[in-house]
Symmetry: C2
Subunit: 306 residues, 2 copies
């Protein structure tokens, strides 16, 4: 049984982590630390350091805080000898996650950089279908209304906040897992609201090493219903992943349509990593984000008003 502390009690901790930990036989939620949230009936602290001092039985922490403060807290937890589960994105920069990986190795603890979308029900079936039918090209419309899915999350619009890449990185975490060849950003165009510094919209053209195009549109100002889809043209039927990974259509036929169990799978994986004294740190989705920021043509867009 792993005694766990959750740090950062916001939307994702309430909606996903708490339920997954409660349902998982391998974990027990000992306490939480947060500047602005708590769980009913669970000991709550403001600072992670207070939580760790009061609960020496905690051997692992999950960090759901915004990326801006994630690395400082992750380093502190690693140096205290705790295993660390990082919500996505695993950090604000690629180099800081590499540094965390080295620190975890030196301390002999597990670091898990989680990508929840990879564990959606239709993702492995999509990978198998691409391998079976052969990929020609990919379209990735990934769009939602930030007012509905990220209300009041002002940090997302500020320097280092990722903007529309905050959801978009979920698409990248699926693409890097299912596509048959490495790909890279060939062109990127950002629209930056005049009252923000991060893109509300990004048009991305990726190219893979055999020359095929992957076109993505990340849009944070899209009226309901949201669309989180990956459409793969193949030599045979079109493959359509939707609902962020819950559903797969092969041509006109529904191949998968399953409820969300991503976070239970993540805690399974984390338990296995801890038991095996291993880490799992795949930087590629974050690398694709920073690459886009390095390459992008930027245009000013109207102010984004919640």
């Amino acid at each position: 049984m792993i005694e766990l502390g959750i740090v950062g009690v916001g939307a994702i901790a309430h909606k996903q982590h708490k339920a997954a930990v409660d349902a998982h036989a391998g974990f027990s939620l000992a306490a939480s630390a947060s500047h602005d949230g708590a769980f009913d009936g669970v000991p709550a602290y403001r600072e992670m350091s207070e939580m760790l001092a009061a609960h020496p039985e905690i051997s692992a922490v999950t960090l759901c805080v915004p990326p801006r403060v994630r690395t400082r807290l992750a380093l502190e937890a690693i140096q205290a000898g705790k295993h660390v589960f990082l919500e996505k994105p695993p950090g604000q920069t690629v180099a800081e996650v590499l540094a965390l990986e080295a620190a975890a190795k030196a301390a002999g603890v597990t670091l898990f950089a989680s990508w929840h979308s990879r564990y959606a029900a239709a993702v492995e079936p999509l990978k198998a279908a691409i391998a079976e039918h052969g990929m020609r090209g990919v379209q990735v419309p990934w769009r939602e209304d930030a007012r509905i899915y990220h209300p009041g999350q002002r940090w997302i619009w500020e320097d280092g906040g990722f903007g529309c890449f905050d959801p978009g990185i979920n698409a990248l975490s699926i693409l890097t897992h299912v596509l048959p060849a490495p790909f890279y950003t060939e062109a990127a165009k950002f629209w930056i609201p005049e009252n923000a510094t991060q893109p509300v919209r990004a048009e991305l053209l990726y190219r893979d090493t055999v020359g095929r195009a992957i076109e993505a549109l990340f849009d944070f100002d899209h009226p309901e219903p949201a669309e989180w889809s990956i459409i793969v043209e193949t030599d045979g039927p079109t493959l359509t992943l939707s609902g962020g990974g819950k559903r797969l259509m092969v041509g006109d036929a529904v191949a998968v349509d399953a409820p969300d169990a991503e976070y239970l799978a993540l805690y399974d994986l984390f338990a296995g990593l801890v038991a095996g004294s291993r880490s799992d740190v795949d930087l590629l989705p974050l690398i694709h984000c920073s690459d886009a920021f390095l390459l992008a043509e930027r245009e000013v867009a109207p102010a984004f008003v919640e």
Copy 2:
């Protein structure tokens, strides 16, 4: 003897690669390909594909073209079974260099992502001196007049051109080699000229995993004389690397002051990699660049006029 083709005959090919290859017993320059340059007395082609078709004896190519077209040409060369030497930066994005690395492995050829500044005479002595005296903090003034050192290189100011990170990445290639702990970008501020999209000036604050600060200033609009220095405060004497890596002062004493032999060392290394069927692809300096672009606060600066 490795028969070599040089692709992209501009300033760096003329100034460095030609002389190093001529002086190296393990290489023979068979031909070049370039849209706008040639070497006296060396067969010259416009396209790399023409050069490779006319000179099947060529087993390796050096790519000195701008980063924008480097990956396409590198992939083409790798898929033609040639070993590839990449000038810095090794690509326009991190993911494309990862893709090249995978392609080189699949094709059984050598990929060498070179960082010439690491082979400057005073770099290894600086690393040894830091290990001896203990590092407290680092200052990195890296500034030059782009009008003098990059005349007419318009691509450097356009999307994906790196701006002041084109020289700055040399400092990062040294820092990632000599500093004793991993570090990451904590804050970045860019000044973007109103007639460009890339920074003319960047103030960077890095933090290492034991909390020490590394402060860098990359400035592309600095009057002569240029300054390419790394100043390390230690528990003992201050260590001052200057001249981009040629000179080292330990306190007031000159420890190293040696002429430039970086490119001869690079071709030595490349010959060894080819002989050993190995690649050398360190992405960290490029990762620090893309991280800064991901994180940076951006400010508009006056137009940069050559």
